[in-house]
């Protein structure tokens, strides 16, 4: 019995109202704001049409932030996927203590970003960090590496981000692996398929639908990731080399006090995501998904 009618709508209404005022309205307001010149702290604003967007077209800092943002998101997404799937296959095997290991490897995803960043800043510390100690003692590097200097800061940022977010991929893939019927593997064995072929022709097709969604969500979240990147920029002088689009939008708004310009950067980011997501759906969506 699904009751018709209004009571249902009334039950959803409060949640809907809050979502509308606090997420949908701000997005609309952000679009409106991007058409204005406005100081972040004062109420006055002037309508400038598309001027903010035209400015961004010729703004080298904006294009640089796009380039850096793409390097960051593409590399972290690929590494998370490879590591997450590999770890899920590993933890799908039966071994002693498996449940404890499963719990432990999920922690990086559950802790506050600020903790992830400070603990890696300690691990990667130039003078006293464990990583440099290991690299020098093993003879891999002749001297301590400046992980927060211009040549290495992007690598450090990618390392921290992959560490923090690969458990998401791991858990989603593991949940799906557990629901693959074992008969499929038995049948493949009877047909003489080795481990590699069983992975390629049984496991991978079964994972296709969950990977489709993981890639979509992770792409959205990595491309718009702010806190990890921003906290990595604090301290050290190489902030410029990891200034992704979200960081640039933040700087425009809260350091240059150009709320309109900051909003324009955020809207451009949003539109790029919409176009990318639509293309992705068009290219890869299969009938049985979603």
């Amino acid at each position: 019995m699904q009751t018709r009618g209004l009571p249902g709508l009334l039950l959803v209404l409060p949640a809907l109202l809050l979502l509308t005022t606090l997420t949908l309205y701000p997005v609309g307001y952000g679009f409106w704001l991007s058409l204005h010149a406005k100081h972040s702290l004062f109420p006055q604003q002037t309508f400038v049409g598309l001027d903010n967007y035209l400015y961004l077209l010729n703004d080298p800092e904006f294009w640089e932030s796009l380039r850096i943002g793409l390097i960051y998101s593409v590399s972290t997404i690929l590494l998370q996927l490879v590591l997450g799937v590999a770890a899920a296959l590993l933890l799908h095997q039966g071994f002693f203590g498996r449940n404890i290991v499963r719990g432990l490897v999920l922690f990086p995803y559950m802790i506050p970003t600020v903790v992830a960043v400070i603990l890696w800043k300690w691990m990667l510390n130039n003078q006293f960090g464990l990583i440099n100690f290991g690299l020098v003692s093993l003879g891999i590097s002749s001297g301590p590496i400046n992980w927060f200097g211009r040549s290495y800061i992007m690598i450090s940022l990618i390392l921290v981000s992959v560490w923090q977010f690969f458990p998401f991929v791991l858990l989603a893939v593991l949940a799906r692996l557990q629901s693959i019927p074992t008969e499929l593997y038995d049948a493949a064995r009877v047909d003489g398929a080795g481990p590699v072929n069983r992975f390629l022709f049984v496991t991978l097709p079964q994972l296709a639908s969950v990977l489709f969604i993981i890639i979509l969500l992770r792409s959205i979240w990595m491309f718009t990731k702010f806190d990890t990147v921003w906290l990595m920029t604090q301290g050290g002088g190489a902030e410029r080399y990891i200034r992704t689009m979200p960081v640039y939008a933040y700087l425009r708004t809260f350091n240059y006090y150009e709320a309109g310009m900051g909003a324009a950067v955020a809207i451009v980011m949003f539109l790029m995501l919409v176009v990318a997501a639509a293309t992705y759906f068009f290219l890869f969506r299969q009938e049985d998904q979603l």
């Binding site: 019995m1 699904q2 009751t3 018709r4 009618g5 249902g8 709508l9 039950l11 959803v12 949640a15 809050l18 979502l19 606090l22 997420t23 949908l24 309205y25 997005v27 307001y29 952000g30 590993l90 095997q93 290991v101 719990g103 432990l104 999920l106 922690f107 990086p108 995803y109 559950m110 802790i111 506050p112 600020v114 903790v115 603990l119 890696w120 800043k121 300690w122 691990m123 006293f128 464990l130 560490w163 458990p167 989603a172 593991l174 949940a175 969500l217 979240w221 718009t224 990731k225 702010f226 921003w230 906290l231 301290g235 979200p246 939008a249 708004t253 955020a266 949003f270 995501l273 997501a277």
Partner: protein
């Protein structure tokens, strides 16, 4: 179970050890550093275990910083966000499951759509809206922000749970003379409890871990939550690594506790995209 050769067992063991070293060792190292006196923290070569374990880092954190205030603020804000989110999401998800009305699927789709918004796309206008409402620099602004960000997954997750509860049970209770409200309270809610607890805990973790909203919406030191407080401790002049690591350790303890408890519910929630970040 397939029998493995000795080499396969060795390979498996090494792979698991490598995974643990990557994922969990940095956290262990943070905990060990937090318990070392500074002579050992900066010892070269570094030693794994503290020779003379000390709580002085935690002591400095309590005495010389506003850590306790930040901690209290985080508890208040996160708990309030959980309560508000559940108060809105439980009836909302029930309404979306058990009633059929015009626009229902469109509402569900819109909710999913808002799930795609990242904080950075909303924060600038959100900040201006809060200033206009006079809520900038209040805990209320944070509670509203966390609630808005948890609602999409809360609604979806609870909807999946309500859908899995056979409607016959409510009907049976109502045939026996219970009102719909009582049927929900005594039949549906107890059955959906694992889902409600999991939703509440995920909301708590989201609020507890947030940096960006707290950074932008809060300016008074005595209103700051832990992530912002710790970031500021780190940025303050000379870095006291022992104290910073102690703060990291204390912040993740509540997360570890609730997470160990919720782990068994989590895989179910994952299917509906329960966690975001």
């Amino acid at each position: 179970m397939i029998r493995r050769s000795a080499w396969q067992r060795l390979g498996l063991g090494l792979a698991v050890a490598a995974l643990l070293a990557f994922a969990a060792f940095p956290l262990l190292w943070m905990g060990l550093t937090a318990l070392k006196p500074s002579s050992e923290i900066f010892a070269w070569p570094p030693r794994l275990l503290p020779e003379a374990p000390t709580l002085s880092n935690i002591g400095r954190l309590f005495e010389q910083t506003h850590f306790v205030t930040y901690f209290r603020n985080s508890v208040i804000v996160s708990s309030a966000a959980v309560v508000l989110t559940l108060l809105l999401a439980v009836p909302g998800a029930y309404g979306l499951t058990r009633y059929r009305f015009f626009g229902r699927e469109m509402i569900a789709a819109t909710v999913l759509f808002t799930y795609m918004f990242a904080p950075i796309m909303i924060i600038i206008p959100f900040y201006i809206v809060m200033r206009t409402l006079g809520l900038a620099n209040t805990h209320m602004a944070l509670v509203l922000a966390y609630c808005a960000f948890s609602l999409p997954f809360a609604l979806w997750m609870l909807r999946t749970f309500f859908q899995s509860i056979p409607i016959d049970l409510e009907e049976a209770a109502m045939t026996d003379g219970a009102s719909r409200f009582r049927a929900v309270i005594h039949v549906v809610i107890p059955m959906a409890l694992p889902g409600i607890i999991a939703t509440g805990i995920l909301t708590f973790i989201l609020a507890w871990n947030d940096y960006i909203f707290a950074r932008i919406l809060i300016s008074s030191d005595n209103l700051k939550t832990l992530p912002v407080g710790i970031a500021d401790l780190y940025n303050a002049s000379v870095i006291d690594w022992g104290m910073i690591m102690a703060s990291g350790l204390l912040v993740i303890i509540p997360v570890v506790i609730v997470f160990s408890y919720v782990q068994k519910f989590l895989v179910a929630g994952w299917g509906s995209g329960g966690v975001k970040g």
